[in-house]
């Protein structure tokens, strides 16, 4: 007996909303970024699940590209975050409020 598709989808949605919770509540940019990775992961899961149940390779293909994108984002994102927070003492995203109004 196989597992119905909905289980996978609900699981990925739960993980996705956990990711959102992480992004919105965290103050440390690195952890925000990790939560985004978590969200991406959840999406990959749902993609593969859809792909599997539709018998179509599209899902897995997109997952590959997502991983490539995640890698690219990590490299650039961490680059930016390091550039900023290297000199600051506490790593807190609320410090970045120079531009407002």
């Amino acid at each position: 007996m196989s597992i119905p598709l909905n289980y996978y989808i609900v699981l990925s949605m739960i993980l996705f909303s956990l990711g959102i919770a992480g992004v919105t509540t965290r103050r440390n940019p690195i952890l925000i970024f990790m939560s985004i990775e978590l969200m991406l992961n959840a999406v990959n899961l749902s993609l593969i699940a859809f792909g599997r149940y539709l018998g179509d390779a599209g899902g897995q293909m997109l997952t590959i590209f997502v991983m490539a994108v995640a890698a690219a984002e990590v490299s650039v994102g961490l680059g930016i975050l390091i550039a900023i927070f290297r000199t600051k003492d506490n790593v807190d995203v609320d410090v970045l409020n120079g531009l407002k109004g």
Binding site: M1, S2, I3, P4, L5, N6, Y7, Y8, V10, L11, M13, I14, L15, F16, S17, L18, I20, A21, T24, T25, R27, N28, I30, L31, F33, M34, E37, L38, N41, N44, L45, I48, G51, R52, Y53, G55, A57, Q60, M61, I64, F65, M67, A68, V69, A70, A71, A72, V74, S75, V76, L78, G79, I80, I82, A83, R86, T87, N90, V91, D94
Partner: protein, 187 residues
């Protein structure tokens, strides 16, 4: 799909990995110490990789473990160490009512989406043939046949992903690279 079916072989594996994923995901959000959060994310990645296996996506499971868990998370740990955030930093991420709103909105969002997912779709079971033949869609050979097949739409995207990675490399070098001219000190 009764409970007891869930507990038999295939279902058990899914249940185990699902619980692991959710737990580690929750830890990533909750833990104050970034290091521990990173490690719990790694666990999460592993458990999702396990789920991939249950969905016959063998190639992706391995890629997930090697690239995602291996390379990306290592990078994260490296950066955490670099910015010496190892020990639990002082300001907790709790920001008063905002955090409560954020948390409740996230849960609301999750609930909304899952309600949508459950209500809309009838219980889709695996098609009979897919179960039996254990087709090689998920294996490296299957992925390769589909990915590089010229009259399938994904080749175009694949080519452009290379340029994406090129941009990422340039970006990383430009942003975090050493300064060329000393004069360009902090404005």
């Amino acid at each position: 799909m009764t409970l007891q079916a869930l507990l038999s072989g295939q279902g058990l594996m899914f249940l185990f990995f699902a619980v692991a994923a959710i737990a580690s995901g929750l830890l990533v959000v909750i833990l104050q110490n970034p290091l521990r959060a990173a490690l719990s994310l790694v666990i999460n990645l592993f458990s999702v990789a396990g789920l991939y296996l249950s969905l016959n996506a063998y190639f992706l499971a391995t890629v997930q473990v090697i690239v995602y868990a291996g390379a990306i998370m290592v990078l994260f740990l490296f950066v955490i160490m670099l910015l010496n955030m190892g020990q639990a930093n002082l300001n907790t991420s709790y920001r008063g009512v905002r955090t409560i709103i954020a948390f409740s909105s996230a849960i609301g969002f999750g609930g909304l989406m899952s309600a949508v997912a459950l209500k809309g779709q009838p219980d889709v079971m695996l098609p009979a043939d897919a179960m039996v033949t254990g087709s090689s869609a998920g294996s490296v050979e299957g992925i390769g046949k589909v990915l590089y097949n010229p009259n399938l739409p994904w080749l175009f995207a694949f080519e452009w992903t290379s340029f994406l990675l090129l941009v990422a490399v340039i970006g990383a070098v430009v942003l975090a690279g050493k300064r060329q001219q000393p004069s360009e000190d902090k404005a």
